[in-house]
């Protein structure tokens, strides 16, 4: 029996000022301890969705829908404030760029003890706090954690810095970790190490993870289920095991077909014609219709099916492609 930790129902996100809808009708749920992926190209709304849901984005707001976290419904009124309260305690965040997310003037140890103080009210200078910080540095695979505790971020490589950012999140013992393209700035070898370590530690602690990436192949190999966003619409929620077996949404399929992954030949790669749609497509018609190899007139005319809180195998295809039999 899976217990939902985060549940989004019909979430719509709009820009402040113009009220332009950037993300529409997204419903999904992440269970306790689940590793969940969000994939999309630039402008798909993948970053905007998570940043707005957790109150990190200043220029957008939650214009509709409900967000449940750990059994509580967050109020639409004063949403940002309520959402931010979750951060740093129940929700940890690992942003993309490890070069700008750490404070260059603070020692690594201080940045972790600060997190322990803020999340758990542990005293900044206590021996127990210090030991907890050193332990968590060790847990994320930093060699010589006692030494690292006293060092500054610029003394570490990109991969090690991202581990430190992860350690800060981990120190707060959150229920959910949001990792937004955590390894995009890193090299291939480091990338795999950091992702594997991160997911392994989260699984050990029973933490749920939302891993956001543009790399479908990375997600396919790392997460259990994933949501596919395109043009601000939720197009597909699929078990990663289903990808490549054509039981998925046409966009997910097309995305998979254009990646030159291992074992593919040039003939296997099929580009998607046209340009990616920007966010803000609304619900009128399928944002992918203009590039879809199966598209029919109904795809532009009808409203995209909404899902309340997506179950497995949700497919927002107007032609019913990829829906479970």
């Amino acid at each position: 029996m899976t217990v939902p930790l985060l549940e989004l129902r019909d979430v719509t996100i709009a820009l402040r000022g113009s009220n332009r809808r950037m993300v529409t009708g997204v419903g999904l749920s992440v269970s306790v301890g689940e590793v969940f992926g969000v994939v999309g190209e630039s402008g798909s709304g993948k970053t905007l969705l998570t940043r707005t849901v957790f109150g990190l984005q200043d220029d957008t707001y939650l214009a509709g829908g409900t967000v449940n976290f750990a059994g509580r419904t967050l109020p639409l009124d004063g949403y940002m404030k309520a959402a931010r309260k979750l951060l740093g305690g129940e929700v940890g965040f690992v942003p993309q760029d490890p070069y700008s997310s750490l404070n260059p003037t603070m020692r690594v140890g201080e940045q972790i003890t600060e997190a322990l103080y803020l999340a758990k009210r542990m005293p900044m200078n206590g021996t127990a706090t210090r030991q907890a910080a050193i332990d968590v540095l060790g847990e994320v695979g930093i060699p010589e954690p006692e030494l690292a505790f006293r060092q500054f971020p610029d003394q570490f490589s990109g991969g090690m810095r991202q581990r430190i950012v992860f350690a800060i999140a981990l120190a707060q013992d959150p229920k959910l970790l949001i990792a937004d393209e955590p390894t995009t700035a890193l090299d291939a070898i480091t990338q795999r190490r950091v992702i594997e370590l991160m997911l392994d530690r989260c699984r050990t602690r029973g933490m749920a993870v939302i891993l956001i990436s543009h790399n479908l192949e990375l997600l396919r190999q790392s997460v259990d289920r994933l949501a596919v966003l395109y043009g601000g619409q939720l197009h597909n929620i699929a078990e990663t095991a289903a990808i490549g077996h054509h039981t998925i949404h046409p966009y997910t399929e097309a995305l998979f077909d254009c990646i030159p992954s291992k074992g593919k030949t040039l003939e296997d790669i099929r580009a998607i014609r046209g340009e990616p749609a920007g966010a803000g497509f609304g619900l009128k018609g399928c944002a992918f219709a203009s590039r879809c190899r199966y598209a029919e007139p109904i795809c532009v005319e009808s409203d995209l099916p909404l899902n309340s809180a997506a179950q497995n195998g949700f497919t927002a295809c107007l032609l019913g492609r990829g829906a479970p039999q």
Binding site: S42, Q221, R291
Partner: protein, 257 residues
């Protein structure tokens, strides 16, 4: 068998203290690279491995400290001014960032036509314009978009413009420095298709610099794997990338998703 087009022998280059990255100075050493006519040669490596520096040396955008660079049988260090000028039309480069590599104040036709104007001054204005339209068509852009400016195009389209500009002077060698890296996945596949088409139709000689193992495996005949300023492995792309002999190449391949 004709002489190789590019022959780098024991080329080395080091950067001074001003470029210290993470307390390490960067050095490139013992670079031996041969590119034969009609070949697509990949240079594979992670950031900081020196692959872009090699691209810049091959295109003579940067100097080298030691070793020799023989282009088409002639050592480039002995180039006369006129030869240097001629070299620029023989070797062209496509950069990673299609946002930074096009002049925002020049129309697309101006950017593409500039090289033709310089290197083929005998062509008249109408011939040049026809040539630009033909190039735009070849790279998959509407032939009449020459009056527009770079900001009116998407990343993938700008990369196509950069490719058209490089092809405008009919180069012998095209150096591509991570031409797909800044593009969206679906656009990467489109530009990859364009490269495949150009390789087949134009029989171009290409040096393709990339960190993407899979792309190199698909389009390159031979590959050099670089790590920390050295070449650690070389050979037929398919062989190296399926049965690596070097420990680093092995690790790199194992890490790729």
């Amino acid at each position: 068998m004709s002489a190789p087009l590019v022959m780098l022998q024991d080329v080395a280059k080091s950067f001074g203290r001003r470029l210290l990255v993470q307390n390490r100075s960067f050095t490139l050493s013992g670079i031996n690279i041969t590119v034969n006519r009609g070949e697509v040669v990949g240079i594979l490596g992670e950031s900081g491995s020196g692959k872009s520096t090699v691209a810049n040396i091959i295109t003579r955008l940067t100097s080298y400290d030691a070793g020799s660079y023989v282009y088409d049988g002639r050592d480039v260090s002995g180039y006369l001014k006129s030869e240097s000028f001629g070299f620029k039309s023989k070797v062209q480069i496509v950069f990673q960032d299609p946002y930074g590599s096009l002049n925002p104040r020049a129309t697309v036709a101006d950017s593409i036509g500039e090289g033709i104007k310089l290197h083929q001054p005998q062509l008249g204005k109408t011939e040049r314009e026809a040539r630009v339209r033909q190039l735009l068509d070849e790279v998959g852009l509407p032939p009449d978009c020459g009056d527009r400016y770079p900001h009116e195009f998407s990343g993938g389209q700008r990369q196509r413009i950069a490719i058209a500009r490089a092809l405008a002077v009919e180069p012998e060698l095209l150096v591509c420095d991570e031409p797909l890296s800044s593009l969206d996945v679906s656009i990467q596949a489109q530009v990859l298709e364009l490269f495949v088409k150009l390789i087949r139709e134009r029989h171009l000689t290409i040096v393709f610099i990339s960190h993407d193992v899979n792309v190199v495996r698909l389009i390159c005949d031979r590959v050099y794997v670089m790590h920390e300023g050295r070449i650690v492995e070389e050979g037929r792309a398919h062989d190296v990338l399926t049965h690596p002999q070097n420990e680093y190449t092995e690790r790199l391949l194992a890490a790729v998703y």
